[in-house]
């Protein structure tokens, strides 16, 4: 199927680090991730809210590891803001949340990752260093 030209433009304007060499149309990337998620009975909103809750928990003690249930959260902020690649007038703070769960598994996301998941269902391209696998993330957050 032909790629929607608006999406094509978005994809062409995205940096390589967001897509990681994934050449599928954006809607395909998004739909396949969301299908996995909905098969597990979850919504992008639920994931985003759980992520945001951890980030906010860590933000209270910025730069210091904090316990949040089974997770250890470290929030670090950097100067500047970063725009949304879907051309929303959203400029998220450069803020990284690094979380380690009880089994020693570590995931990291930024405020922009949360926005991308919540508003666009975009978990970033396969092969991107910032990609979060939907089901892996859901299991990590204790949602499944």
């Amino acid at each position: 199927m032909k790629e929607n030209p608006i999406e094509l433009k978005l994809r062409q304007d995205m940096t390589e680090s967001l897509l990681g060499g994934d050449t599928r149309p954006l809607s395909e990337i998004i739909e396949s991730d969301l299908a996995e998620l909905s098969a597990a009975g979850l919504t992008q909103r639920q994931l985003a809210e759980a992520m945001r809750a951890l980030t906010e928990k860590g933000l209270a003690r910025q730069g210091i590891e904090t316990r949040a249930g089974d997770h250890t959260v470290l929030v670090e902020e950097y100067m500047g803001r970063i725009g949304c690649p879907f051309k929303h007038a959203v400029r998220e703070a450069k803020r990284n949340t690094t979380v380690t769960d009880g089994k020693g598994k570590t995931l990291r996301w930024s405020d922009l990752s949360i926005h991308l998941i919540e508003a666009h269902g975009f978990f970033q391209g396969l092969g991107s260093p910032y990609r979060l696998e939907p089901l892996e993330l859901a299991a990590f957050l204790g949602l499944i």
Binding site: T15, E16, M79, R81, G83, C84, R91, K94, P129
Partner: protein
Amino acid sequence: MDFSVILRTVGILSLISAALSAIISLSEKVFNNYGTCELDINGGRKVLKVEGGRSLLSTLASEKIYIPSACGGKATCGLCKVQVLEGAGPILPTEEPYLSQQEREKHMRLSCQIKVKGNMKLGIPEELFNIQEFVCEVESLTDMTYDIKRVRMKIPEGQQISFKAGQFMQFYSKPYGKVKEEAFRAYSISSKASEHDHVELLIRLVPGGLVTGYVHTALKEGDKVRLSGPYGDFYLRGNCEELIMIAGGSGLAPIRSLIYDVIEKGLPHKIRFFFGANSRRDLYYVEEFAQIEKDYPQFSFIPCLAFPKPEDEWTGNTGFVTVALDRDVDSGAGKEAYLCGSPGMLDASIKVLKSKGFTDETIFYDKF
């Protein structure tokens, strides 16, 4: 098969394709040729004759007027706003999300989205005329803390940098390791404004960051790097008696430059510099500021450690920088505040300052 049929077919097809190509290139000449357009900047202060047909951002860049942009013309940052009084046409759908009602009334437009199609009247802040591009040699790379590097670069022969203390530069990274793209980010200048042949930036490593990763893992002394600048309206106003400076992490950079600016110009302002860090290992330039404190009684340095470790043997301020701020600053009268740091720290500090009577007119910080 009759040979003449083949010839005839080929001939007719070629003729038709040639005719269509001729029509297309002719209409390209007619419709896509905007000729020479005149850009009138700031009511005749500068008049440029340019070739039309390209975006305003890149047209201006080829005329050595560099409008700040963080995304490079993709309409994702909304920073390249320029006042276009005449000749821009209607607001495009790609611009809409980034323009507020106020900005629309002031005729602000995204310069990366609008095309030069005729004569235009523009309003561009005078500072932007001073922006240059430099290809600098990295003279030294110094670890200031475990995650902050100071990059000192030599301005090439024949060029000079002059900036207002507090301004920032755009630093361009090259592809390295697994990263195949070029990128650029804004970093504040930490060196003295009186130094015209060198420029220093303080760059903190962002895990997963493209440009900071380049600086921390790939960049070596002697490498050539590309810079453009100076940009920004974060500089000293000085319509007051006392300056409150607040910084965290690599936000120290512009503040250091500002402090030297005040001292070197012999300005009378009192300066209090609150520096927020987590623990001892995040502090740097401490000896230098202690020395300035000794030499210039108008200056005092107040480092605050939010979570000092036992081995730090810290006897100074403990807690977030906002705690010290709340305790030490009594009112906003006769004061200006200059802030640089992470978005969270900025928001928290601005809240405290406002509760003390500071206003949007007396609080200054970078918005990039």
